[in-house]
Symmetry: C2
Subunit: 311 residues, 2 copies
């Protein structure tokens, strides 16, 4: 997969990325590859990550302070765990240029909007965002320029947001290969609860359950994982800090969807107990169609077993 | 990935495969590629599948009746859904050669052993088996010769089984690239409940829950599935008949493991409600190590996102 060739001229004067992990470093790589910013600035709170960002040549300037990072930036994108947004917003607030756009990439949008609103000054455009893309790896080395290609990036502009600012941010994501959609923060948080947060939680949970069984050893679980279990371990290998923050900051939607999941699971368990084969068969047939749809709209590979490399 | 070159001489005189789906057709392909049988015989209850097996050249003989399929066979492998084992055993019983080995590939072993014992005559070696391998696709076209390479194949010989017969069957699986392990049917059914059956059930369940939400449309679920949900749809696209039979025939172990899963999930939900971030962080850190182990022993790819083909 490749990105389109570089633009003739940048679409952002100065772009600042705060937090150089999987997502932050992918934005930097994509922006660099396509020449999207006049100046590309990166900052990370961890000294080792800043050094790594310099070594990888991820930005024109790897700033040493949040102040230096956002000074004169036209667009600032916060790529830190959701639980760190509030502290970062506080740090950068005094140094933001009037008219700057401040966005983020957090997997929760209601809590982030509140955190940004609480700390950022008037005259700054707050437009939270969330690219629905990622892998199970973390850190500045894990990113790649095509991460957002053909993925959705959701913007959740608050009521009264400046349409021109929304359009600029949207243009930036589109130039990185993403498809942009807008919705309210509340709706985003419910949609992601079912498409991402609860799936991650049940993956973490089944891996934990398996590790704790007394009658089956952990080495047996690992050995025979090809029967299905190993699929779950991929997302259960995702960044623990990021995911702790997601659950703490999207509590209500997660608990609401979890309630439905558990109710459905108990009904399935009952169908098994009472040998209601037809109910099982009907569900298992219905779920096949959903995967087909995901493949059809280009959000998944049709290759068997995800096209896993074998050997 | 490639299989080893063909053997100088076959290790089985006449090998019969009953049921030409994903697993059956993979056995036929592997046995043919490596020259494992003097004569390779296939049979399927469905006329269309028999025709397809002939068109694909999967066997030396695609039999028209179960009788013709097993006549004079040294090893017979039943590759039909677990719920069909009993009927197939009944059909082939009168035609089996004395001293023949009858095995299977079902994902449940206790129930299959009982079904075979109930119908097969004295003088036939019953050695149930289960290759822990597969994809989400079904049918004679879905199989491939390397499906079992580097995967585990579990044999569950009943007490008193002939060691020489176990060794022959084991040799056949090894020649198809698999690693062979033996255990009791009861232990197999518990191990597979956690490594395969319950993971499939919760995957089917979350896909069903997502489809039934009123506040999030099915098209939104499909659109934003890259956040994690789409991983689950892969195994929720597996063959409905096969999986219905698995749950109905491994009821007790599945319900036991499901009980643990639900208990753990409710504790996790409570941790979210009471904002116990440390408990979440600890679990999410522990689960990472398990994936690492699965990758280390060569049962999973280390490529990000399963190495999914992107575009």
């Amino acid at each position: 997969m490749v990105l389109d060739p570089p633009l003739a001229s940048p679409i952002v004067g100065r772009l600042a990325v705060i937090g150089v992990g999987l997502i932050g470093s992918s934005i930097l790589r994509a922006a660099k590859a396509r020449g999207l910013a006049g100046t590309l600035v990166a900052y990370d709170g961890a000294d080792a990550v800043r050094q790594r960002a310099r070594a990888l040549g991820l930005a024109d300037l790897v700033a040493d302070t949040p102040e230096q990072a956002v000074a004169d930036a036209d667009i600032v994108i916060l790529c830190v765990p959701v639980g760190a947004m509030s502290a970062v917003a506080q740090e950068i607030a005094p140094h933001l240029k009037r008219g700057a756009i401040v966005s983020d990439v957090g997997s929760v949008k209601g809590a982030v909007l509140n955190a940004l609103r609480a700390h950022l000054p008037e005259g700054v455009h707050i437009i939270p965002g969330h690219p629905v893309a990622g892998t199970e790896y973390s850190g500045p080395d894990a990113g790649f320029a095509t991460l957002f290609k053909n993925r959705w990036s959701i913007l959740t502009p608050p009521e009264g947001a400046d349409p021109a600012a929304v359009a600029r941010l949207s243009e930036l994501w589109t130039a990185m290969g993403a498809n942009v959609e807008t919705m309210t923060p509340e709706h985003h948080d419910l949609v992601l609860a079912i498409t991402s947060h609860v799936p991650h939680l049940i993956a973490y949970n089944i891996v934990g359950t398996a590790a704790d069984l007394e009658k089956v050893t952990q080495s047996e679980v690992i050995k025979y994982s090809a029967g299905g279990f190993r699929d779950f371990t991929r997302i259960a290998a995702s960044d623990p800090t990021m995911w702790r923050d997601v659950f703490l900051n999207n509590r209500e939607a997660v608990i609401e969807v979890l309630g439905r999941f558990t109710e459905d699971l108990i009904a399935l368990q009952r169908a098994i107990r009472w040998e209601q084969g037809e109910a099982l068969f009907d569900l298992f047939t219905r779920t096949r169609a959903i995967r087909r749809s995901i493949i059809e709209i280009g959000q998944e590979t049709a290759a068997p077993d995800f096209g896993r490399e074998r050997d």
